[in-house]
Every structure is written in structure tokens, then in C-alpha cells.
Amino acid sequence: MQSIPHRWFGAGQSSAADSAKAGAEAVVEAIGGRAPKAVVVFCSVAHDLRALLAGVRAEAGPDAAIVGCTTMGELGNSGMTVGGVSVAALGGDGFTVHTRAAHISESDPRAAGAAVAESLRGLHDDHKVLVLLCDGLTGHPHDIIRGAYSGIGATVPLVGGFSADDRKFEQTFQFYGDEVLTNSVVGLALGSDGPVGIGIAHGWRRIEPPMIVTKSKGAHIYQLDEEPALDVLLRRNNFEGTADEFFDRGRPLQPLGLSRRNGEDIRVIHAGDDEERSVWGTADIPQGAQVWLMEADRQALLDGASWSCTEALARLDGLAPLGVLAFDCAGRRAGLVEGGMDEEIAVMREALHGAPFAGFYTGGEVARIRGASGLHHLTLVTLALA
């Protein structure tokens, strides 16, 4: 007799060209014949998103909560895809699922974070976590996370990622039920009677000496140590050429670490302006901050991935993991080119002892266990469920 597990987690992937088929294939693999309470979908913006979601819905059934977003690459047990789809599904009486979505208003991005935090309301399970999938191009990642934190407080951990559109930086999408949203936050409040574990690790290290951000506005840096910021980055990387040449062909991203009490808060610089001699990324860099250029070699990044998974599992009170949601910074891919991606997936498979996992390459990661800050960059965040 087939018993219905008290809690279950499954993952599936598809590289099918047809969007509806890809969605259906991946979700079928993930649910494995069980009735899912929640389905989490990560896919490329290149897909026909509505068709893909319809394919997911057809297989998941009318009662499953569907959430998800577009990516800069998808990952799962089978490996990494670009232009594919990766799905996680979970169910069983041990899990409770609530979802909310909110539009991000330019004038009050916090409100969106606070609104989706409302999804935790009425969730009385022993263990809780809020998974956030946010538009990665609003320019206000911090405020969205702060809004969510202010709504839920220190008692519930936060994880998640910022959606992407491959490498176009034009428009990203979020999935909420059967809707395809943009400029929104989708929240999945997950309650469980089993433990949840979260891992956070990056593997980047500082390059001395530090610099002071002497002029900045929002995510734009104009001066480092009173010298044009672009000049500083080119000089310190021994690179001669334009900003485009530097970021497109030379170094696709430049991590900057902001001085913080216990280390650094990483920002990714991914573009520059030859006229202004300025550079910018996706999150604000406050004037007056002390920053380091950050570097990593392949082994350090792989160690980071391993550490993130190990840390998440270590918090499961000794239970075996049912599965893992992974939010891996797209920036890490740049440090893991030429076979590195496959190595990272292999490292994760090993560290997770074969547990199913699904995730995506993000434009920024969310993870808060302690303290109040929840935004990360160049980091692998893992959420393990047991």
C-alpha cells in the first residue's frame, strides 16, 4: 500500500523548447504523482511564460499554489540550464503554504515587502520561513527586504532571490498562481512541523587596500578615494580599454565589499560609463562607505557552495534533508566559467547527500537568520527542508 508521506519535496527540470511542454515535464518530475501544496517555478525569460505556467497548472492541479520567477540560468540535480526550466514541488500534511504578491511602488518599495510578509499571518507551525521572489531591476532591493523584515520581525527567517532576464537587464517577471507579474514581489510563507535550515556562503575575499566611496548616488559610484571610480577599477585590474570592453569581455562583474561589523556586504558592479567615469550595480552604495575590491578563485567559490549546503543541513536537527531550494548569484557563474558550473552542481549534489534541489541564478539573494540585514550578493543561499 502506498503511504502518503507526511512531508515531501521533489525537483524537476526540462530543456524542452516548447514552453508548455517544458513546464509540464519539469513539474511532473518534481511532484512524482503526489498532490503538491506548492510548486516553485524558475525559468528563462525566453519562454512563453503564460504557456509555461499553463503547462505547470495542468499537471500540478487546481489546488497547488504556484510561485516563481524568471532567471539568469536554472539549476537542479541534473545540472545547470540557460533557457530551461527548473521546478520544486512540496506537499504533505506537515507543510502549510500561504502566498501573497504585491506590486513594487517606486515611491514606497518597502510597502511591497511588508505586504507579502502578511502571508505569514495565520501560519502557526513550529517552523516557519518566508521565501521572497522579487523583481531584480527596481533599484530598491534593500527597501523591499526591510519592508518584509519590518512586517515579520526577527522571529521568522527570510530567504529568496531577485529575478533576472538572462543578461538583458530589461524586464523580469514573477509568477503568482496563474499570473505573470512584473515589478512585483511574490511571497511564499512556508510552515512546517519539521526543521528548516538556511545556508549562506560566498567564498570571496578582500583585496587590500580598502577605499572610501567619496561620491555616489544610489547604485552609481562616481568616485573612489576622490578618483573617478571607473579609472580606479581599470587601474586595479590592469585593464586598458572602455567600460564596455572591461565589463563585457574582460571582467563581467566587479564585486565590492562594504565594511561591516562581521565582514563585508558585497555589491556587484556590472557596468560603467566612459564619459562620466562612473560605475554601477544593482544596489545602493552609500557615500562615505569603506569598500574593498573582492576576489575569488574557482576553488574558493566551490568551497563556498559546499559550505552553504553543509550549513543549511546542519540546522536540520540531525534529520536527513527532504530537499533544497537554492538561490545562486548569477555573478558566481562568472567566476566559475569553463566547466566550473558543472563542478558547482557536483559539489552541491555531494554536500546535499543526493537530496533533490532546484533553484536559479539570481540578480541578488535574500537570506536573514540573525541580525536585520537580508540582502546578499555573489552568494549561494540554500533553504533545506527536513
Partner: protein, 732 residues
């Protein structure tokens, strides 16, 4: 690595960008919490918990208030006990920024950084509140003014007050604007502003009134009732209706605006609302005054409320830097008060401060609203005039002189002072504010030298003069310290028998660097820089001791000593004189103090008490240079004068004309009528001596009789004088 310093900069940027209190608090709490990797944070302000962050829906308000009061552990449901640190937002209240962390207590460096953050937040909140109050007021105005006409008047009145507030006018001026504005709007109501004083009994004092009399008891009772209720009160009384609107300062009940109108309460509901709006204004003014207190202390003179020197230079710098073209003339007036020190010395500092405040008010009345006036220090003021060429600036300077010349009413009496004005006009494209002000200062010295109440425009030649002037001051200080002064004595001769009646002590200064300097040159400077009191005392003490020694040989020898007006008004002048005489062992009846007519004329009231005291103790008083001032015979009656010295101008001609003689005869006869001695000064030849004897003048002084003489030679001269004079005395 000092991570905290940079975080403070980040924090400062984030908080100062906030436009309202809520945002500032939210940003501050979130940044502070994140920066020390704490879990939760909040602000407790005026007993309320604001910006609570990290608690979720259940904010432990009571426990946060306990932390603000000093508790160091914070129990958070679901997280257990957190290490908490309260950081005060200011000095006055128990307001605090609180952060709390789960894993470890806060180190000293973190605490220090958090204190810094809290202070930054406190400052930001106070300035936001001022702005918010202004906005609130505008909303109030819109809502309350019902008829278009009343609204217009209300707006105008409130705008006047707002201008006064934003122009950082002194608080009393703003409060007066509030009461007079309210009285006008309420059609002839009497309006009083009562403010609670510090201390336990919280006595109410009247800060400003308009119409009616100060502190009517009805006002106070209505005020107390409204303050107790915390809301606007309207109630009938025996003569009409009283409306009282409480005034709060940073949330605290601080006083009450009370109006009294004829008629019953039912016709005054609109007036009640209008008064409430004015009460808001007072709240704003007082809150603003407190908020900017720190800034004002650094930039404003507390006595006059005017910008101080530092701020004036800043403003001047800005004006000079922003000139449209290099030819836009900017003028600086340097205003120095004449005789202010005398007022300050005789009436006390409080009266002096009152006078300065009144002067400041008049100065502001002499310039345009867009011009800047400042108090540079002491009795020096300055004015900055935009786009004012030489002619316009000179007109303003003359306006200042005549405004200050009008009597001031201070401490129950009329005070007459004057002002000298120096003007510098910027011509250069690039001009330093300091040098422009300095040039105006130089021009003022020049003006002062030419006499009281002058206005002079700076010219480059004045610069070297001023340098000399300033170094003279330094040399004088040294002279006093190093004993470079000495005295000569010139006998006063009885014209009847040629015998010496006394000697006049005359100060001499032989400077090692300047050579001989005439008292005519250095006495005014000593007076100007306040050195004259010490110099005068030295003269008195030295000459008293000298004459006391001579009196062993010449027992009836008297001493005449010149006294400056500055000495006369010094509060301890009479004491100083008597002490000098006591030390020397010289009887007071042997001493005659000589005062110039101009001193007595310019300050008829000042020093009168000291002179009467001294006269009572036997010291005699002489009017020097008599007949040269704008003679008012009244003071001869009022002052205890014993002697008139007829100015040398009347007898300087080698041969006296009939007119000269007529004048001298008049003075002598006048003196005889009043029972005064007469001394003729400047007798230079036998003919003059003869003529004066003939007119009945009793005493004389002059080169013909005896030149000023060094003390060691004087006894011999006195003896010779007696002999010679007996020989030359005409036989009758």
C-alpha cells in the same frame, strides 16, 4: 580597522535625507539595527514607541520604554532576552534610540557609534519638527479662516510672524508680533501671552501683551484653566469673553495665549479658532528658538539676537562671492558706539545689555530688510548693504548716526550715546570679507578721531594712520606697565599776593620708541581703550603722595588733578579717590578734581552721585576749560562746583581786547555771585596778569607765572616764585 566611523557617515546621509519624522525614525532605526547586526530597534520619544523594527506585529512597548529608562535587557517574544542599548536623542528628555541584539552585548566602540547616531537623529528630528509645524500651520490657516477677508488678514499676519521666525528675529520681537497680530485680527481684543517659568511652582509670567494692562488676573486664571485642559478654552467673564489657547513646546505645556473680547461667548467661535492658530505660531516660535539655540549660540549674539562676527563674515563672503558682476558695489558699515562704556560702567552690565539690544533694534530700522546687521562684539556693530554705492551707503551711515543720537530709555532714565560710522565699499572683483570689514573699521577710527557722530568712507591713506593708532594703544599699555609716565606740576598762583595756592598735576609720557607724546594725542586713545581709569588712578595716587610730602614745607598747598569722564562714571570712582588720599595722608580738602565742561555737558546725570559723595567728604570740584562748551549754567547750580578755570582761549591774545575782557569779567562776576573761585589759565605775559588782577580774578596759571616743572625742582620754584612775585608786585 575602524568600520564604525564610516558607518556613521552612511547613517548621517540616510537620516538627513528624510523629509518627515516618521521616515527619519524608520531610516535611523533600520540603519542602526543593520549596522551593528542587531535584530530589533525602536525610538522612544516623548513616551511613545516609534519606528519599531524587527518585532513583527507585537511590539513590546512597555519593555522598550523600560530600556529607554535604562534597562539593558529586552525580552522579545520568540527570541528571548536581547542585549539592549538606549542612546539619548538629546539632553532634555528621556528620548532614546534603542537597538537590541541577540548574540552578544555591545562593545564600547559600538555604543559610541550608536550614541553618535542617536544625536544625529535627535538633531534631524528637531529640525523636521520645526518644518512640520510650519506646514501644519499652513493647513490650519486654510481650514480656520472662513471669510475671505479674515483669511487674507490672518495669512498676512501669520506671514509677518513667519518671516520674523525665519529671519531669526529675537524671540521677544516674534512674541510681540504674535500678540499684536492676534489683537489686530480679533478686532481690538486685548491679547496676552503668558509663559510658564521653570521651577516647581511653574509661575506664569507675561511674555508679551497687546492692548490692556500686563498680567490681568483674569488672563492668568483663563490661561491656567486652558493649560490644565490642554485645549482651547472660551468662557464668559464679568466684562465679556476670554479665550485661552495653550502653547506647547516640544509637546510640553509651556504657556498660554489669552485674548479678551467684549460680548458673549457665542459670537466668538471663529475668533477662538483664530487664536488657536496663533497659539500654534507661538509654539513654533518657541520650538524653533530652542532648536536653533545651539546654532544661535555659535552664530548669534545672545544680547541683541544679531549675527555675530563669524556669521557676518560668512554672509559677507557669500554676498561677495555671488555678485553678478564685479562692479556690483557691496558696502560694509562699521558702527562704533560713543560713550557706551560709560553707561556700562555706571549703570551696570544689565543696563548695558538692554541698551545694546535697543541699539540693535534701531540699527535694523536703518537698513533694508534684505541687508544684514551684526554685532561684532563690545559696542561694535556692522551692517552689510547690498548694491549700495558710496552715496547710498553714506546716507545709511548718517541715518544710523542720527538714530543712535536720539535718547534711549534704559533702567528708568534717558541715556544719550552716539555712534561713529566707517564705510568700506568693495571695488575689487575678488575681495576678502575680512579685509573689507577691516577697512570699514579703519574708516570708523578715522571718523571717531574727527569727533563724535561722524561718517567716513575708507580711503587707502587711512590704513597707515590706523596702524599707528593701534600700536599706540599697545605702547600705552606698556607705558603703564613699565612706568614710562611721569608727572610735572604747574603751580596755581594767588594773583593777589603771588603766593602758590596749589599745584596742578600734569601727566607726561616719554615713549622709548616715539619720544615725547603729548597728552592731547594719547589721552583720547587711553579713553577709547579704557586705559584712562588706570592711568587716572596712577596720577591721583602719585600726585597725592607728592603733594603730601611738599605740604610739610608748604602747609597750605593744594592739589588739582584732571579727571576724565570715564573715571567719573566708574562705579568705584569715589572710593578710589578717597583710598588714594588716605594712603598718601592728604586731607580731602586739599584736593580739587578738574573736569572739563564737555564731560559734564555730555553726561549730565552720570557721575553726579560720585561728585556729591566726594564733595560731602571735602573734595573740591573745578570746571576746566570753562566757557568753551555749550554752556549750560544749570549744572553750576546742580553740581557741587567750587572753582571755574577760565579757558586760555579768552586770554591767549597778547593784548586783550575790550571784548575779551568783557567775557572774562562776566565769568568772574558769575563766579562771585555763585560763590566760586576763578582761575585764569594760560597767563603768558605781564599785561595779561595785570588785566586779570584788575578784573578781580583770584588765581592764575601760565608760563608767565610758572611753567610745568619736574617734581624735584618744584620746591625751589615755589620759593623763588614767592620772592619774585613779591618783588614784581605792583605797589598800590
Amino acid at each position: 580597522m575602524n568600520w564604525s566611523t564610516h558607518l556613521l557617515t552612511e547613517f548621517f546621509t540616510a537620516v538627513n535625507a528624510a523629509e518627515n519624522e516618521e521616515t527619519a525614525i524608520t531610516h535611523a532605526v533600520q540603519r542602526a539595527v543593520e549596522m551593528v547586526e542587531a535584530e530589533v530597534g525602536a525610538v522612544v520619544r516623548e513616551g511613545k514607541v516609534l519606528g519599531a523594527y524587527g518585532f513583527g506585529p507585537a511590539v513590546p512597548e512597555a519593555r522598550l520604554r523600560a530600556v529607554a529608562a535604562g534597562e539593558t535587557l529586552l525580552d522579545v517574544i520568540g527570541r528571548g532576552e536581547l542585549y539592549a542599548v538606549p542612546c539619548p536623542l538629546g539632553v532634555e528628555h528621556a528620548d532614546a534610540l534603542i537597538v537590541a541584539r541577540l548574540d552578544e552585548p555591545f562593545g564600547p566602540e559600538e555604543r559610541q557609534m550608536l550614541q553618535g547616531m542617536a544625536q544625529v537623529l535627535g538633531l534631524a528630528l528637531r529640525s523636521i519638527r520645526v518644518l512640520a509645524a510650519e506646514r501644519h500651520l499652513r493647513a490650519e490657516k486654510e481650514r480656520q479662516a472662513t471669510s475671505a477677508q479674515t483669511r487674507q488678514r490672518l495669512v498676512e499676519s501669520l506671514l509677518t510672524i513667519q518671516r520674523a521666525i525665519s529671519a531669526r528675529r529675537p524671540l521677544p520681537e516674534i512674541l510681540d508680533a504674535v500678540t499684536s497680530g492676534a489683537a489686530e485680527l480679533l478686532d481690538g481684543a486685548t491679547v496676552a501671552l503668558l509663559l510658564a517659568e521653570g521651577g516647581q511652582d511653574r509661575r506664569l509670567s507675561v511674555a508679551s501683551t497687546c492692548g490692556g494692562t500686563d498680567g490681568e488676573p483674569a488672563h492668568e486664571s483663563a490661561a491656567r484653566a486652558a493649560m490644565a485642559a490642554g485645549s482651547v478654552l472660551i468662557r464668559p467673564d464679568s466684562t465679556g469673553t476670554a479665550i485661552a489657547a495653550p502653547v506647547r513646546v516640544t509637546g510640553e505645556m509651556a504657556g498660554c495665549l489669552v485674548a479678551h473680547l467684549p460680548g458673549g461667548t457665542e459670537q466668538h467661535t471663529e475668533q477662538r479658532d483664530q487664536l488657536a492658530a496663533f497659539a500654534q505660531q507661538v509654539s513654533l516660535a518657541l520650538t524653533d528658538a530652542r532648536t536653533v539655540e545651539a546654532v544661535r549660540e555659535a552664530h548669534h549674539d545672545p544680547v541683541t539676537g544679531l549675527p555675530n562676527r563669524a556669521l557676518f563674515l560668512k554672509i559677507l563672503n557669500r554676498v561677495l562671492a555671488s555678485r553678478g558682476t564685479s562692479t556690483d558695489p557691496t558696502s560694509v558699515l562699521f558702527i562704533d558706539l560713543d560713550r557706551f562704556k560709560a553707561v556700562n560702567d555706571s549703570l551696570g552690565h544689565e543696563a548695558g545689555d538692554q541698551l545694546l539690544a535697543l541699539v540693535a533694534r534701531r540699527l535694523r530700522g536703518c537698513v533694508r530688510a534684505s541687508d544684514t546687521t551684526a554685532r561684532l562684539g563690545g559696542d561694535e556693530f556692522a551692517a552689510l548693504l547690498h548694491d549700495s554705492p558710496r552715496e547710498a551707503a553714506t546716507i545709511v551711515g548718517e541715518r544710523v548716526v542720527s538714530a543712535i543720537k536720539e535718547p534711549f530709555r534704559v533702567a528708568g532714565r534717558e541715556i544719550f550715546i552716539g555712534a561713529s560710522v566707517g564705510i568700506a565699499i568693495s571695488r575689487e572683483a575678488v575681495e576678502k570679507p575680512e579685509s573689507l570689514l577691516h577697512n570699514a573699521d579703519v574708516a570708523m577710527y578715522r571718523a571717531k578721531k574727527e569727533g563724535p557722530g561722524r561718517v567716513r568712507v575708507y580711503e587707502s591713506f587711512m590704513h597707515s594712520e590706523a596702524l599707528d593708532h593701534l600700536s599706540l594703544r599697545g605702547d600705552l599699555q606698556r607705558a603703564l606697565r613699565e612706568g614710562e609716565f611721569r608727572l610735572q606740576y604747574q603751580p596755581l598762583i594767588r594773583l593777589g599776593d603771588g603766593g602758590p595756592a596749589g599745584v596742578e598735576a600734569l601727566i607726561r609720557w616719554h615713549s622709548p620708541t616715539r619720544g615725547f607724546v603729548s597728552p592731547v594725542d594719547f589721552i583720547p586713545i587711553a579713553e577709547e581703550f579704557g586705559l584712562i581709569v588706570d592711568i587716572g588712578q596712577w596720577v591721583l595716587e602719585t600726585s597725592a603722595q607728592q603733594v603730601a610730602r611738599w605740604r610739610r614745607e608748604f602747609p597750605d598747598l593744594g592739589l588739582n588733578v584732571n579727571v576724565s569722564g570715564h573715571q567719573l562714571v566708574h562705579p568705584r570712582f569715589a572710593d578710589s579717590v578717597m583710598r588714594a588720599l588716605a594712603i598718601a595722608g592728604l586731607p580731602s580738602s586739599a584736593v580739587t578734581l578738574e573736569l572739563t565742561e564737555s564731560v559734564l555737558m555730555s553726561e549730565p546725570d552720570l557721575g553726579k552721585a560720585a561728585l556729591h559723595t566726594l564733595r560731602g567728604l571735602g573734595v573740591q570740584l573745578s570746571i576746566d576749560d570753562f566757557g568753551t562748551g555749550y554752556s549750560s549754567l544749570a549744572y553750576l547750580r546742580e553740581l557741587p562746583v567750587d572753582e571755574l578755570k577760565i579757558d586760555r582761549a579768552f586770554i591767549a591774545r597778547a593784548e586783550l581786547t575790550g571784548e575779551d575782557l568783557a567775557l572774562v569779567r562776566t565769568i568772574v562776576e558769575l563766579a562771585q555771585i555763585l560763590g566760586l573761585r576763578t582761575v585764569a589759565e594760560g597767563i603768558e605775559n605781564a599785561a595779561q596778569l595785570q588785566a586779570l588782577r584788575g578784573l578781580g580774578c583770584a588765581y592764575g596759571q601760565g608760563y608767565h607765572l610758572c611753567r610745568p616743572t619736574d617734581p624735584e625742582e618744584l620746591p625751589a620754584r615755589l620759593l623763588t616764585q614767592l620772592v619774585e612775585d613779591r618783588v614784581t608786585r605792583p605797589r598800590t
